[in-house]
Symmetry: C2
Subunit: 669 residues, 2 copies
């Protein structure tokens, strides 16, 4: 073929936008080899998936299938496979409409059936599974649905009474009513008791009158408010006869059935965000809005027709705590779904590391697979162990929640706060590590790993700022300590029973056998928690003895509070790992889980706090570090099977997890 | 005003989209108070700014002014002030066109005058200042301009010879030619020596013939290639008479002056990214592309008209190293500008923390300012110290670069690698901390803090993956050690002269006076670097004695390499702080800088490595931590002045840094 002809032909092809004659040799220099060809499964990945998913596996697969079969979920073929993921190059307005269309589609297929109208463990677990699955398609889908189901629906369920349940829940489940949850204001986020919205009662008409008295009182970040919601729960100070009875929750209509904003309501959008642009977060102002008396959610307090304030809980602190119940549900959902999101990122990063090579050790040798670098193993494999640990912990938290009793409320509050903070921090750390481990490819939106960071960043501050939640955990542990001391009773609950035993002793020289023993691991975790709780109580008491208030004392001791919160969280998570392992018969599944459990425990024990407070000597610290490296290389052959067991369908991973060379080929342009 | 009338009026106003009658009381519940009203400047902020900017302050302000006066920079009034920042709700195609229009505007105003046609310290420093300023408007602007100026232009300057300079640089400065830099391929990023593009020489026509032999060889991430560039530098294997002479750089035209893609070139976009969507990153395939012989950048090697390979450097490793020079320039720019980006985020977070309150310590007391919480001080104030330290270090690096000599090349390579990695990691950590410290407001794109994360995330992997750069730093230190040992000579260069002195001794009990003494601080930093270098050499030697190759030995010792890289970086940065401080006369500026220097040093010494390797006892570790807390509270009154000294004009911060209540008011909707 002479050159002039060839040039003409290439040019013609360019103009026709078809493929030029391939100049690529048939033996590509680099070829993609699926990791399945080189890696073995030493255990049954289906069994492993059942164990870590814990419940409703078929339900999950049904939902995955629903999404991947619909054009609304933006399926695209890359490298011969179909992937679903939103088009994030759309404007915020387009993304919001797509989120809503996806909800309508899922609603039409019965995905939310019985979610608000049925009670009991079975439906609640099904709902958890549903949210976990939906969350990994897109955080906007999860969040917009969550605002409607677990914030709006949860508020009616927990704060309302029978007539509210009857009037609102069925229509909400069917989306005849679209709810949102107006708690946060511009001026008050974490400090809900400080909200400035004011509601009075007009006995002449039997209505409440609600006002936004100043700009800082505008409701802010209200998911669903900007475009779609017809109703909202408003958290407002309730003034009765000149007395502020504190924060109460009201149902307020904000749009009519045709979507027109109601009189005396003003609504504005929150603007472009670094993620979640598929959620219509809005701001709301109330101008003498009239609210029917029966729209007060009256499970703990009511106002009589003639305007008397009636409450079943005298103590205003306890009353306020009761109003926070929907947030607890929210935290359970957020914590559990964040583990699922981490799975997506790590499955992609591990699969890529099993197919991408870089640098040869010697000239003319093949380049080395990323996951065969000890440093790359050290980056990613401990994260596999952490995800397994969090999966068991999430299943424990869900069971704790669905089997709730009045007596277990405190435990649920403390554990959900600590897990929400720990899991979402871990999620961000895992996403960042995975993005960097994928190099530049981690920055392409279609590869998901990097994009998820912007989407999920909100998790560390919504439904309670993580730092504040962890402070509350430490305050709760402080309370347990004082209670046990005051009544001279043993610790009971929150897993603190180990405080009643003699203090564990760490051997002066830790060898491999000891380091892998679950008893030692638990001892080490309990030792830290016990010592930090003792120190925290001592330091707070010392501050108080110097004349500080309890609140001030807590603020001064924030470093111990942070370390203690993490110690509680790590130990609680570890306990669920031990329990999951104990349910298994001897065999390959139990073997690999035991190794993962050791890796998880040792990475907790590698934390700086073990050296900082002197629980580990320098030599033992080095032994721990060395053992971690060793376990990483032992788990290397299981890496593929361990992430396959996450059970995420291929379509919900990304092109980078499969044939990324073909996905990038000219023929795909 | 009766209710029916009022409702009608509000409704009418809604329909007219004008403001309703204000229901807001004139005494807003929360009011915004500018931090300037409550905070004092204990030192001259203008003087401080000059010190940390170090050079070209007027030039910087001129450029800031150029941008804030043009409608192309998307000015918007929020809370009574003008802010400039791109509209990130635009599609990627719109963002790319806006980036290009902004470059055209700046070009027309003479912003890049002499940037490519003049040599010498003065113009190089001016160019550094320019890039720092442009980078904080938008990372896309920085990156697209950088690909043209310091990658394309730098390659011609460093790799080309006189006739290349004469032919290309003036037209490039005027943007008659738009250049890009095609080094990375789909299959090879960090490992540039492995690129698969192949170029042969056809002596019958006196042309090179360039091919993309397989899909993994497609050029990837090439900034400027997808839409605008007319020319590119291509890194390709050069095969001469069947011998591969290794990677060489060629100038290749990819578009004609009208923007049409040239024959035998195929180009595709890289798709939507998590940031930098204003840069047209593209992919390029070459199909028997004919390249004039004189387009080989021939500073180190050439091909004669009759096809003989001629090189002034025999050793192919050294030849390859010479080709990497443009990347070194890139790393200096990236490192220095990342410090400026951190300043934006921290100035916003500190200003917000001085105006936002949350929780009262006692009922009916005013809520507490965020920055008055000890925990909030501990989050943000050490970052102020780190930014000051990095500013001095950046100025040192720039001077090192502009005063370069053949002898200083190694130092520039090692210092720029270590600073690029350290500063960009720090930048991401600072952005994340600031976003969380701003709570939900950190997620609004217009507030910048959170958005910058997605934009700058790329820094940790482009122009050299940070982990790989740090490994190279440690390898270079290893080389220095072996060199000194082999020749039995003293250490000289890279700041390693302290290795020739007796090993410093850390006092057994560290009190406040010692902890704040710069001599102790330097000793502690040198001690760690010395010990880690000794350990690294010992461990690598041990691996080699066990039969491993040098490369394998380095891979096995990655943990020590990481810790050593950081130790080198921290010590080198600290040294520049000491030197900056030494230039000042006694007075308030020197006082506050001394305190910042101690804070910076102690946060380095707080690093886990000091406990891990036993340089600090548990008690001394606790003393260090306590002293940090103390210094944070001492610096709290200076927080505003310290971030004002960053010299970032208000328009380049964000609404959250000023009257965020008014910026969110209904009247602004």
């Amino acid at each position: 073929m002479d050159r002039a002809f060839q040039r003409t032909q290439i040019l013609t092809n360019h103009l026709l936008r078809s493929s030029p004659p391939s100049r690529l040799s048939s033996n590509a220099c680099l070829s993609y080899s699926p990791p399945e060809l080189s890696e073995d499964n030493a255990f049954d990945v289906e069994e492993m998936r059942k164990l870590i998913d814990g419940h409703n596996v078929e339900e999950r697969d049904w939902l995955f299938g629903l999404m991947s079969r619909s054009g609304l979920f933006n399926p695209r073929v890359r490298g011969g496979k179909v992937f679903v993921s939103p088009d994030y190059n759309q404007s915020t307005e387009q993304q919001k409409e797509m989120t809503w269309k996806r909800i309508e589609y899922l609603l039409g297929r019965g995905a939310f059936k019985r979610w608000l109208t049925e009670k009991g463990e079975e439906i609640e677990m099904r709902r958890f599974a549903g949210f976990e699955v939906l969350s990994i398609y897109d955080h906007s889908l999860f969040t917009k649905l969550g605002a409607h189901i677990f914030l709006w629906g949860g508020a009616i369920e927990f704060l309302g009474t029978k007539h509210h349940h009857e009037k609102w829940l069925r229509d909400s489940e069917n989306y005849l009513i679209k709810g949102c949850f107006a708690m946060t204001e511009l001026g008050h986020g974490s400090n809900v008791r400080g909200v400035e919205t004011v509601t009075t009662y007009d006995s002449s008409t039997g209505e409440f009158v609600m006002n936004t008295p100043c700009e800082s009182a505008q409701k802010y970040w209200i998911g669903g408010a900007a475009n779609h919601a017809t109703h909202t729960i408003v958290f407002s100070q309730l003034h009765i006869n000149g007395t502020n009875q504190g924060v109460h929750a009201f149902i307020v209509q904000i749009r009519d059935a045709d979507g027109n904003i109601c009189p005396n309501i003003r609504i504005a959008d929150c603007g472009h965000k670094i993620g979640l642009n598929g959620v219509d977060n809005g701001r709301i102002w109330f101008d003498n809005v009239r609210v029917p008396r029966e729209n007060l959610l009256n499970s703990v307090a009511d106002v009589s027709p003639d305007g008397r304030y009636l409450s079943s809980i005298e103590n205003s602190d306890q009353r306020f705590a009761a109003f926070m119940a929907p947030l607890t549900v929210g935290r359970v959902y957020i914590a559990c779904s964040s583990v699922y999101q981490s799975k997506v990122a790590l499955a992609i990063a591990i699969r890529y590391a099993l197919t991408r090579r870089a640098f040869s050790l010697k000239p003319n040798e093949p380049e080395v697979l990323l996951l065969d670098y000890p440093s790359h193993q050290r980056r990613l494999i401990p994260l596999v162990a952490r995800i397994y640990a969090m999966s068991f912990a999430a299943n424990y938290l869900k069971m704790l929640y669905v089997k709730r009793t009045p007596r277990s409320n405190k435990t649920i509050h403390v554990v959900s706060s600590s897990f929400k903070a720990t899991f979402t921090w871990n999620n961000m750390q895992i996403l960042q590590e995975c993005r960097e481990a994928c190099g530049g490819q981690g920055l392409k939106t279609e590869n998901r790993v990097g994009h998820l960071k912007g989407e999920y960043d909100v998790q560390s501050t919504f439904e309670g700022d993580n730092n504040i939640l962890m402070q509350r955990v430490s305050k709760a542990l402080f309370g347990e300590y004082m209670e046990a001391q005051k009544r001279n009773k043993a610790f009971k609950g929150l897993g603190l029973e180990h405080m009643n035993e003699p203090c564990p002793v760490i051997p002066s020289l830790l060898n491999s056998t000891t380091l892998r023993c679950s008893r030692f691991q638990m001892d080490a975790l309990c030792l830290r928690e016990r010592d930090l709780l003792n120190r925290f109580v001592a330091d707070v008491s010392k501050c108080k003895a110097e004349g500080k208030s309890t609140q001030q004392a807590f603020l001064m001791c924030y470093q111990l509070a942070e370390d203690l919160g993490r110690a509680f969280s790590d130990r609680t998570i570890f306990q669920t790992f031990i329990e999951a392992e104990a349910t298994l018969p001897t065999g390959s599944l139990k073997d690999v889980l035991g190794t993962l459990r050791s890796l998880y425990a040792l990475t907790c024990i590698e934390d700086v706090s073990y050296l900082r407070y002197g629980y580990l000597s320098v030599d033992n610290g080095a032994n721990v570090r060395r053992e971690i490296t060793k376990i990483c290389s032992e788990l290397r052959p299981h890496a593929l099977a361990l992430v396959t067991s996450f059970g995420i369908p291929d379509a919900f991973l990304s092109p980078l997890a499969f044939n990324w060379i073909e996905a990038n080929s000219w023929s795909s342009v």
